[in-house]
């Protein structure tokens, strides 16, 4: 039955294992270095896409979109860097997505008092800043990360003074299994949600992982990050900040109270992920309170 095998001395066995290990290690390191660039690119593309998605500039079905008469319609990129009306079949290339990302999304820094400065003025390298602070989150740093969303204009008209059409706040926390990372885009009134995204999560596929699905995320636009009190008044200094994922449907749990505007339908079978998401929004958004208030005050004028 068994084919005859040579018998080996201990030394030969050790030599065999060492050689085998070296060959495997060599192949793997060659592969890792060969794939490191595409891997990094894939990650950056995914992050950019998720951020554009939270800002409602990109649809999860794979096309750009622009706002027209209060609804979003499919759009495509034209050579001058602007998005114009298109169809759902205009699937942009990776390069297009990165171009739009670079044109429309600009990182900014926000201090505790809510003042905005740019990375250039603060003399901070954006890439180093991202790398050094991802683990602890950006919300509790003296200079917090945010992004401004620029309006849809041709590339050459983009400048410092362009009035943003919204802001994106990075959100992080802990889900059921591991850390979760996402974005929340808010309108210039500092209160209304434009959209959300979760770009890095390891929740249970089919249950908690639904936080990354369009179906669940589609309830976010129009929600308020500041919870109004029972008479419907929002106080930017005192109202609690965050979005609460309830157990079950908002309509059943909260009813028609003003609080419903800051509550979200839970996912069946994913209560703990929902709790994690609620906490992530609360913890990540609260440090930006003065920033939201400033936005709100500026917008009123």
């Amino acid at each position: 039955m068994q084919e005859s095998r040579r018998s080996y001395t201990d030394t030969q066995t050790i030599v065999f294992t060492v050689i085998l290990s070296f060959i495997c290690a060599f192949i793997l390191s060659a592969l890792a270095s060969a794939l490191s660039v595409p891997k990094e690119e894939a990650k950056e593309l995914d992050r950019s896409r998720q951020m554009l998605q939270s800002a409602q500039i990109y649809n999860s079905l794979g096309y750009f979109q622009i706002e027209k008469n209060d609804t979003y319609i499919p759009a495509k990129l034209v050579p001058d860097g602007q998005l114009v009306e298109g169809t759902k079949d205009d699937h942009p290339s990776s390069q297009d997505i990165l171009t739009v990302y670079r044109n429309r999304i600009v990182p900014i820094l926000v201090d505790d008092a809510g003042n905005v400065t740019s990375f250039e003025k603060a003399k901070i390298n954006y890439i180093d800043y991202l790398r050094n602070n991802k683990k602890q989150g950006y919300a509790n740093l003296p200079l917090k990360l945010a992004y401004k969303i620029l309006p849809n204009v041709p590339e050459k008209e983009i400048n410092e003074d362009l009035l943003p059409i919204g802001y994106i706040i990075p959100v992080s926390g802990f889900g059921l299994w591991d850390a979760i990372y996402g974005y929340l885009a808010i309108a210039p009134d500092g209160d209304t949600v434009i959209g959300v995204a979760w770009y890095d999560q390891k929740e249970t596929p089919g249950l908690g992982a639904n936080i990354a699905e369009q179906d669940w995320q589609s309830q976010f636009p129009g929600k308020k990050i500041l919870q109004a009190d029972s008479s419907g008044i929002t106080d930017f200094l005192k109202s609690s900040i965050g979005l609460t994922v309830v157990r079950g449907k908002v309509a059943d749990v909260v009813g028609r109270e003003p609080k419903a505007l800051s509550s979200l339908d839970g996912m069946a079978g994913a209560t703990l992920t929902g709790n994690g998401v609620t906490k992530a929004y609360k913890d990540s958004l609260t440090p930006y309170r003065n920033f939201f208030k400033k936005l709100h005050d500026q917008n009123k004028k």
Binding site: R6, Y8, F16, C24, D46
Partner: protein
């Protein structure tokens, strides 16, 4: 076990149907529960496992005459891990979306009993080419079962196939139409795969029993 005169094709088809690793040997159940609630993920997982079993069997067989017996298992494991990491890196670089959904299950192919089972049960006894076909067959057999489970679970759990809507939304229960259709919640959860696998095994056994008569 030296099947010298068996045509190569038999190695493939035998694993695919007659001695299907999931349904007959009842191996690889863990991942069959974990990655089958969406068909797209099930297909990727099936193909990944096929790649790993195929190539690891090939190389285990290639080294079978110079592998010292005392480190035989560890050698197989090293070869298997090598191919699993290759697949994992490849998915991360070119199919990040799918890689995110599969998360830990790609890494867990290393511990998938099917891969080691084929290396230990077949590849170490036969020449590289039959071993390769045997591995590919085992992987495809696993993929086939995964696809059947994934199809049933996605259809009844989400009303979709490959992420495309199959059961129209208008059939669903709503406040206006409380008696409408609802997704089968159990199908989304891992235990559903248990039931489906159980039924599939029963069907295969019944079929085989009838053939024997």
């Amino acid at each position: 076990m030296t099947q010298e005169n068996v045509p190569l094709k038999r190695y493939l088809t035998d694993q695919l149907l007659n001695s299907n690793q999931v349904l007959v040997a009842v191996l690889g159940i863990c991942s069959a529960l974990g990655v089958t609630n969406r068909l797209k993920v099930a297909v990727t997982m099936g193909l990944s496992v096929t790649f790993v079993t195929g190539f690891s069997s090939f190389f285990v067989s290639l080294l079978r005459k110079i592998t010292p017996d005392s480190v035989r298992m560890i050698t197989q494991l090293a070869i298997i891990s090598l191919f699993v990491i290759v697949i994992d890196q490849f998915l991360q670089a070119y199919f990040l979306d799918i890689s995110k959904v599969m998360s830990v299950f790609v890494g867990l192919i290393i511990t998938n009993c099917i891969v080691m089972g084929r290396a230990e049960g077949m590849a170490k006894n036969v020449p590289p080419l039959p071993a390769f076909f045997d591995g590919i067959g085992a992987g495809l057999g696993y993929a086939l079962v995964l696809c059947i489970i994934g199809f049933i679970r996605e259809l009844f759990g989400f009303g979709e196939i490959f992420g495309m809507r199959v059961i129209p939304l208008s059939w669903y229960a709503s406040p206006q139409n409380p008696d409408g259709y609802q997704n089968f919640g159990l199908m989304v959860m891992a235990p559903a795969a248990f039931f489906i696998i159980g039924i599939l095994i029963a069907v295969v056994n019944a079929y085989k029993a009838r053939q024997k008569k």
